[in-house]
């Protein structure tokens, strides 16, 4: 270890400059930055597709997108947002923050870290370029169920290849995070002294290692069904298309928690800082995170209640799904208890964290509603489900990412963001998000199916409202881009410790901005 520290000296002077700095870098901060910019780029592309979807749905009838292209838009919107935007963004946060928060000099496998990142633009390019191949992009939905996905064109093959690459990147990233956390913590930092963000990422990384190979397996089976004469999912050849759904969702449900557990971690850092109180029930939070991870592996078939399942199966998955709400409820209780009688201030990170709790609870409750079989059979594949998971993934995962960016921007850049504009970003996001998605509950309950470019006249008003909200939400995110760029280029110099309630190592032991090589000598944690 001493040798490693010794070697690190002087690297500031010798790392390549220009583009090669970014291509060859093994520095966790550089790689974290690249992850974050990549995910934001994909967020804009996925957002562009969402704008296309909402523009088409602004009025009944076919105006802008033909049905085939509309299906491609919905499919790629989901794939890009899940695999290209949300997941890499959290890995970016892990790259930046895990070493800083545990007092490590870098990630454990620095070169593999570089490789994990540089696989992503390849996969992203494959996904985006699939629009331009004969037959267009995959159009069977982000869940790529057969037979649509076995019958699709070249775009499906590009998607399968992209998912393979993204999976490999995620597995390598996870191994790196697990190894870093378990082996490189500062002396004195026992597991139960780790910041919650680090805990949530440790558990998320194990989940990723568990389920990503399942996804790789199922897309490989799809590939061999398409090109090598197998019939895993083809009933005519003795296979079973429902088996695809079981395997996919055995990956897919833990994937939901992969996207939300790090969000819990970020919020669990921000709430205590701005309430100026330690996190209420730290150990409960760790326990709840672990139990959510375990339970997430036994609830997958609640996505398939209408696919054909014995009553016994429906009841099992209904009960198990409802029980997973218990540890999630414990977390919400703990965040609320942390704020209780705290000396709270409402800077932008805190606003987004509170917005997260408020809206995530709505998404969580609509999830419990969907878990009830008789209700789910009614709302399956309607806009109610769309509303539910956007409350979890946009006002859940995405809001926590915004909160995290505002919280750590001073540490990353050495500059403060514009607080007034940050608050505008929050309130506009809050308003337009609810305008977009709250009305979709009504559309779903009224029976509007998802993944359709046209609809009956009775759905017209709420769709128009939803589309106006979506355009507003999309434009608001350009304000976020402006805030971040102006912070980096011309932001006011940040004080050494801009958040007086922050207690984690990156705030107590490092200046703003964090130096290129930090913790060459590990701090002692008492």
């Amino acid at each position: 270890m001493a040798a490693v520290h010794g070697d690190a000296h002087g690297h500031d002077d010798h790392h390549p400059s220009g583009i090669m700095r970014w291509v060859t870098t093994t520095n966790h901060k550089d790689i974290g930055t690249m992850y974050l910019w990549f995910s934001f780029t994909m967020f804009l592309i996925g957002g562009f597709l969402a704008m296309g979807i909402r523009a088409e749905l602004y009025q009944p009838g076919i105006q802008i997108l033909q049905p085939e292209l509309f299906n491609q838009f919905t499919t790629l919107h989901g794939l890009i947002m899940v695999f290209g935007a949300i997941m890499p963004a959290f890995v970016g946060f892990a790259n930046w923050q895990v070493p800083l928060m545990i007092g490590a000099p870098d990630m454990a496998f620095a070169r593999m870290n570089n490789w994990s990142f540089w696989l992503l633009p390849v996969a992203g390019t494959l996904l985006v370029s699939s629009f331009f191949v004969p037959g267009g992009a995959a159009a069977g939905g982000w869940t790529f169920y057969p037979p649509l996905s076995t019958q699709g064109g070249l775009g499906v093959d590009l998607m399968i290849f992209a998912v393979h690459i993204l999976g490999a990147s995620s597995i390598m990233g996870s191994i790196n995070i697990i190894t870093t956390i378990l082996n490189m913590r500062a002396p004195g930092m026992t597991l139960m002294k780790m910041p919650m963000f680090v805990w949530t990422w440790l558990i998320t990384a194990y989940l990723l290692v568990l389920v990503m190979p399942v996804l790789a397996g199922v897309v490989t089976m799809l590939l061999t069904d398409r090109h090598f004469g197998t019939s895993f999912f083809n009933a005519a050849g003795g296979g079973d298309p429902v088996m695809f759904q079981h395997i996919f969702w055995f990956f897919g449900h833990p994937e939901v928690y992969i996207m939300i557990l790090p969000a819990f971690g970020i919020v669990s850092e921000i709430i205590p800082t701005f309430a100026r109180k330690p996190l209420f029930g730290y150990s409960s939070m760790v326990y709840a995170t672990a139990s959510i991870a375990i339970l997430s592996c036994v609830v997958w078939a609640h996505h398939m209640f209408t696919a054909g399942m014995p009553t016994v199966g429906q009841l099992f998955f209904m009960y198990a799904t409802m029980l997973i709400a218990v540890p999630t409820g414990v977390k919400v209780f703990n965040w609320t208890a942390t704020m209780w009688r705290g000396s709270m201030t409402f800077e932008t990170p805190m606003l987004f964290a509170i917005g997260f709790i408020f809206l995530f609870v709505i998404g969580g409750f609509s999830g419990v509603i969907c878990a009830i079989v008789p209700i789910d059979i009614q709302v399956q594949d309607t806009y109610y489900v769309i509303a539910h998971f956007h409350y979890v993934l946009v006002s859940g995962a995405l809001f926590s990412l915004f909160a995290g960016v505002y919280y750590w921007l001073p540490k990353w850049t050495g500059n403060m963001y514009n607080e007034t504009l940050g608050k505008w970003h929050f309130w506009l996001s809050m308003f337009f998000f609810n305008l977009t998605f709250f009305v979709q509950h009504f559309l779903g309950l009224a029976g509007m199916p998802r993944r359709i470019p046209d609809y009956n006249l009775q759905f017209a008003d709420f769709n128009m409202v939803s589309s106006i909200g979506a355009f507003g939400f999309g434009l608001t995110q350009l304000l976020f881009l402006y805030i971040v760029i102006s912070c980096i280029r011309s932001g006011e110099k940040s004080p050494e410790k801009p958040w007086d309630g922050a207690t984690t190592l990156e705030w107590t032991h490092l200046p703003c901005p964090a130096p290129y090589h930090s913790f060459e000598k590990p701090p002692i944690v008492k």
Binding site: T190, L191, S284, Y287, A288, A290, L295, V312, V326
Partner: protein, 69 residues
């Protein structure tokens, strides 16, 4: 000698079971947690967690059987 060891291992298993049960609920008293952290190893807790998950699944299946019978 053997009797004492059996007693101790029984108490240890009960302690692991309690830690896992509280984990599934998501709450734990701080003093109990500190006691767990001092006496239990991560391997014991992980194995306990997997066994707990199996018992959890089996007990839901039992409830389902009772409901549909």
């Amino acid at each position: 000698m053997n009797k004492i060891t059996e007693k101790q291992s029984g108490a240890r298993i009960w302690q692991i079971a309690k830690a896992v049960m509280f984990a599934f609920m998501g709450v734990r008293k701080k003093s109990d947690l500190e006691h767990d952290a001092a006496t239990l190893t991560p391997a014991q807790v992980i194995i306990g967690g997997i066994v707990g998950a199996i018992i959890f699944v089996l007990s839901i299946m039992l409830v389902v059987r009772l409901v549909v019978s």
